[in-house]
Symmetry: C2
Subunit: 311 residues, 2 copies
């Protein structure tokens, strides 16, 4: 996989073209589903054994993902839950993913102001960051000035930013869908982001400013696409949250005989399947690994076929 | 200082009555202002020396705060910036603060859905959390269901929650002030939170569900108070961000001859003053400590006088 350019969106588009799919594997360590053999101890979340077990689990995941999918998305909450040893494990996992040629989108949904936003950007998006990701998810509630330090990091270091627009949970409509001058808030957020997105476009035409657009609301993805023609969509909710791949791709656009314009993310569905929790934890490491690779290949083929079929 | 109850708001009210002020000292390690003698190395943010220097700095801060103010507010971004060693330092600082009888409100502005929100609650609000705070700031953009795991933690463990309503930055108006059916979004968010707030009231009458209400918009604090009569306000922006104490207290209400109803927060202004950056870093540890205690006492007296004068 060639990652020749500095610009996140360009690198993502190049990788997903060459690999034939825009699948994003979410790295959510649901501890109670990790096979016992990895050594995770549910009665000692902050301990060394648990952090080491999570690290081993994801090294195995990443080694199977390399060369198959363009990008992975660690969910930082599950690492924070393990205390400082969890963050140390996350730093190592992120570095390992990048070593294996995978792009890393850190799902942290940060949002704060001024020097605090600057500190978050410095935590994850600078080349010298202890946990150096290629892209980060952000929350827009605090306003456009809260995004500035992240946009500056994108300009200087080519990193990607994914701002929450329409999320995939039932309660998303509580505020995101409220009507402002006749249009829903998420659309208004998207409209406010449009000039920033335009300013961060790369050679591929796609921008380093992306948005999160939940797969459970496909019509809304289409509306977002009208406002943000050059913005990558991070589409969570494919797989475990029940949305079919056709819904997940509704905001994508035709380009060179394929559908393009974002990444489709699945976490639990690929990592653990949908079987009973106890069975998941009791399976051997080898059994889990075999089943995981099967699910990974199936998801990749499904998403790959869906973007290609449009040609 | 007696902290006899389990309910965050009750403990905060009791402590601020007994200490005579509702001042919250923000723990924001602006590294370039920490006196050189603490050993912070700006060229090695992720290193052991920097994390140890930040820890020593805040142990000194906390030892001076104990018995003078009811609550401190670490800003997690500045610790994340230091990598896992920064989180380890934060865990120790939070534990030290609680040991010294200070309440700890962790400023993390987290917001996510389902099992991810649950993981955040477990990271900071459970008795067995590696970083066990008394209260946490939250972002409402993802909707009411995203708050549920935090509300459940409040019910089980008595912790406080502070949801962003109206923040103190200039860009806050980009989305928070947009009109929805004739009222600003932040007011709509507040209205949606009102039943949750009512359900989490303690013996003091105040609720464990609070909101963030920036001191730079005092009229808006008054409007929030109308919708949320029993909700504590976290009022940032006093001090360094320039708002006078009278503005910061505009959402407070008279109770027993005093103003009550929240906490007034100052970070940089108290920790470092407003002098030139270089002078701050070059002062000796003893000089900084003497000046810090003076600023702490001055702020405490100013805020204390302002809430008492109303009687």
């Amino acid at each position: 996989m060639a990652v020749a350019t500095w610009h996140f969106a360009d690198r993502f588009i190049e990788a997903s073209r060459s690999l034939g799919n825009p699948l994003c594997v979410g790295l959510d360590p649901h501890l109670e589903r990790i096979p016992h053999g990895f050594g995770v101890r549910l009665d000692d979340l902050g301990g060394e054994a648990t952090a080491n077990g999570v690290e081993s689990f994801f090294v195995a995941v990443l080694d199977s993902c390399a060369g198959k999918v363009p990008i992975v998305k660690p969910q930082i909450a599950f690492f924070e839950q393990l205390g400082w040893r969890g963050i140390r494990a996350l730093e190592r996992i992120v570095a390992h993913a990048r070593d294996r040629g995978l792009l890393v989108l850190l799902d942290a949904k940060r949002g704060d102001i001024g020097s605090t936003a600057q500190a978050y950007a410095q935590s994850y998006l600078w080349p010298e960051s202890p946990c150096h990701a290629d892209a980060l998810t952000l929350n827009p509630y605090l306003g456009l000035d809260s995004l500035e330090p992240f946009v500056a990091a994108s300009r200087s270091h080519g990193v990607g930013l994914f701002v929450l627009a329409r999320t995939s949970n039932p309660g998303a409509s509580d505020f995101q869908s409220l009507l402002v001058d006749g249009e829903p808030l998420y659309q208004r957020v998207a409209r406010a982001l449009a000039p920033v997105s335009d300013a961060l476009r790369g050679a591929s035409g796609w921008s380093n400013l992306g948005v999160v657009a939940g797969a459970t609301y496909p019509e809304e993805s289409e509306r977002l696409r009208q406002v943000l023609p050059h913005t990558l969509f991070l589409v969570p909710g494919y797989g475990a949250q029940g949305a079919p791949v056709s819904s997940a791709l509704r905001g994508f656009v035709r380009h060179g005989g394929r559908l393009e314009g974002g990444m489709v993310s699945s976490s639990r569905g690929i990592l653990f399947g949908t079987g009973p929790l106890e069975a998941s934890r009791r399976s051997s490491v080898a059994e889990w690994h075999r089943d995981f690779v099967t699910r990974l290949d199936t998801s990749r083929d499904e998403v790959g076929a869906a973007v290609a079929l449009a040609g």
